[in-house]
């Protein structure tokens, strides 16, 4: 199994470390800002569509109180 080219193996080990290091860090500002572009792929539909973590309801909950202007006067 270890009879392969040692140069490729060393390259693989370095790449493995670089891969996990890069995966942990945030993308560049250039990439993050491109998320707002119109023709840029937006993946938010994946989590906005299903599951219990649906977007919050935009209707404000609570009781409405009727204000009578005549009584205030």
């Amino acid at each position: 199994m270890l009879s392969s080219n040692p140069l490729i193996l060393v390259l693989g080990l370095i790449s493995f470390a670089i891969f996990f290091y890069l995966l942990k860090i945030r993308a560049s500002k250039n990439q993050i800002e491109s998320f707002k572009n119109k023709n840029r792929m937006n993946w938010s539909w994946l989590w906005l569509r299903f599951g219990r973590n649906k977007p919050e309801s935009n209707i404000i909950e609570g009781e409405s109180i009727e204000v009578n202007d005549d009584e205030q006067k």
Binding site: L9, G12, W47, N53
Partner: protein, 263 residues
Amino acid sequence: MSKHAALDTFGRSGNPVIRSSAFDTRVSSDSERMTLDGAVNKTAIMLAILVTTAAISWNFPSPFMMMISYIGIFAAAISSVVTFGFWMPFIGFIINPRPHLAPKTWLVFAAGEGFFIGLISLSFETMFPGIVLEAVSLTFCVAATLLFLYKSGIVKPSQNFVLMLCSAIFGIFLFYIGSLIYSLVTGVSPEIFSGSSNASIGLSLFIVGIAALSLVLDFDIIEQSAEYGSPKYMEYFGAMALVTTLIWLYIEILRLLAKFRSR
């Protein structure tokens, strides 16, 4: 009383139904939000489980293990279709992706795929000693390079890029199905699929290229999900997507190296 009481109460819009949060893609509280670290940890755990089950099937090859690996790949295929859905060009999703199921399917997926990968790797290693470690090394070389290109902002997947890539992936999927049917009917796999001719190597290079570009989509899903504060289950979904593509890339590189060696 302030003249802007309505503005103070409801924000910019006077209509309480249209608050500014209506257009916010952040959907969960801080404790339930996805993080980059979480996705990386899940990817590492999935790869560890996959390598463990692959090592089991590698070290104990038997007809029983072969049966386990076939059951494993079948279970992994079902769990991936349930989680990722099934997409066709011009039609769209036939089975919708359900990322919220990823926390339930990831373990079956990783373990099942591992058993199968172990057996495939063993058969290639028996024919061409040393090929497996080379393929693993080259897979991470390609993945690290594309991740660098993505993180630095050199590669930005647009909608057209995703559409073209998904069409190419679907074409390759049809090619795999066609090759499988051909080999079932004739008993021999087609020359262009498993041969070592120039056309076969060219096709393998094309498939490796498409698999490598697919990694960009996985990085993009993980990065956007973390950036928009998506729900926690997207950590599992992103990790599953990334591991699937890494495995696809690994198998294609393995086949490509085997073709080069058998010339």
